[in-house]
């Protein structure tokens, strides 16, 4: 909704961001209080995001997407300041998840090593403290996925460059390419999950003993299986959820670009979604190292 005050300045008011914040609070609060509240929060979140996107998509051709809010903080746009504060919170979020997983791994390896040293390892259990690189996870496939994400970061930044130069055709092409590369990344990750879950027997609560025995000539499932499975799915799952959100945002951005809503003067949304997309790339760089290579 756009209104003008006594000085002729435009104000941009919308109930949707507020509803998104309330829905997020309810969804997380429900994890502590009751899961029904979480389900309601998620439903409200989807509804509020839909309403927000619908409102945003109705901006008329040639109009700046949302009246500009001014630059009250050292000449920085409020929207850019907002996305950077959000990304700072995301750094803390992923640091928490990665460091927890790492601490769990170290504890698990120390415990199993102590059992091996003391000779108390159950008979038939593998004498390894953690999965070797490539033992369970498909490193070549994930390396290809990593290249896809790197390429998508490149096409994203090229889309912004094209928008700044007013090159509409290049901007649309690069945005579409970024969207397709992002969708490919998510698709490959879904394929990887399906193979790991069904063929390798890697579950969030451990490795399926029957499948492991079948593949290793009757050996017991490794003792690290439970920690490996849970930390793998939590780390890659949260990242995959972030990429999926980014793909949805890119789809919306691309659709708006093809409707001619961005120009050399009006393209801040491309920069802001781009910042989020590159951040997701940065997180993957660390995840790929910690989960797949070490």
């Amino acid at each position: 909704m756009v209104s003008s005050n006594a000085h002729g300045q435009e104000h941009h008011t919308s109930i949707w961001p507020f509803l998104v914040a309330v829905a997020t609070g309810l969804a997380f609060g429900g994890l502590v209080i009751h899961l029904a509240l979480t389900a309601f929060g998620v439903g409200l979140f989807v509804f509020a995001v839909g309403g927000w996107l619908h409102q945003d998509s109705r901006v008329r051709f040639g109009e700046l997407e949302g009246p500009l809010e001014g630059h009250p903080f050292f000449g920085i746009s409020t929207r850019k300041l907002g996305i950077w504060i959000f990304l700072a919170s995301e750094i803390m979020f992923f640091t928490g998840i990665l460091s927890n997983a790492f601490a769990l791994r170290v504890r698990t390896e120390e415990s199993i090593l102590a059992m091996i040293t003391a000779g108390t390892l159950p008979a038939g259990a593998p004498a390894s403290t953690w999965a070797a690189p490539g033992q369970i996870l498909n490193v070549p496939l994930t390396a290809v996925n990593t290249f896809i994400l790197i390429l998508s970061s490149f096409t994203m930044v090229e889309a912004l460059k094209s928008a700044e130069r007013g090159n509409q055709a290049a901007m649309k092409g690069f945005l579409l390419a970024t969207f397709l590369l992002g969708a490919t990344f998510v698709s490959i990750q879904a394929y990887e999950y399906q193979k790991l879950y069904l063929s390798e027997g890697l579950r969030p609560w451990g490795i399926d003993p029957a499948l492991w025995a079948e593949r290793s000539g009757g050996a017991l499932a490794p003792l690290w299986g439970q920690t490996f499975g849970s930390t793998f799915y939590v780390q890659t799952g949260f990242h995959g959820a972030h990429v999926s959100g980014g793909v949805l945002a890119l789809g919306f951005l691309t659709a708006k670009a093809f409707k001619g809503r961005y120009s050399a003067k009006n393209h801040e949304a491309i920069e802001l979604v781009g910042l989020y997309w590159h951040f997701v790339d940065v997180v993957w760089i660390f995840l790929f190292t910690i989960v797949y290579l070490v």
Partner: protein
Amino acid sequence: MSFRTETTAHPRRAKEAHARPYAKVMVALALVTLFEVVMFTPVGVIPANLQLLHLLTKGQILLVLLAFAAFKASLVAAYYMHLKYESRWIRLIPIVPLIGVAALFATFAFK
């Protein structure tokens, strides 16, 4: 309050317009990733006895790979996220949580 129509108004960003090594950054990211996969995982591209996977200890591998990851992340943050060309106020924002990250890693290292 004045309302500006420019969306990327900072003067440092103008400097960036003349030097955009985006393709070079992409090639660097891809090459380092390729090196990591070839040298540290059993993909069979080079003989196993030449792989750093078998020449370094577990701790050394972790340090080397984390250094590579930090290098790649810095490239993305500096060039693709434009931090190299942003005002110091924007650059301060990610530094605040990174201080926490550093403290956490220091705790791990000392333990």
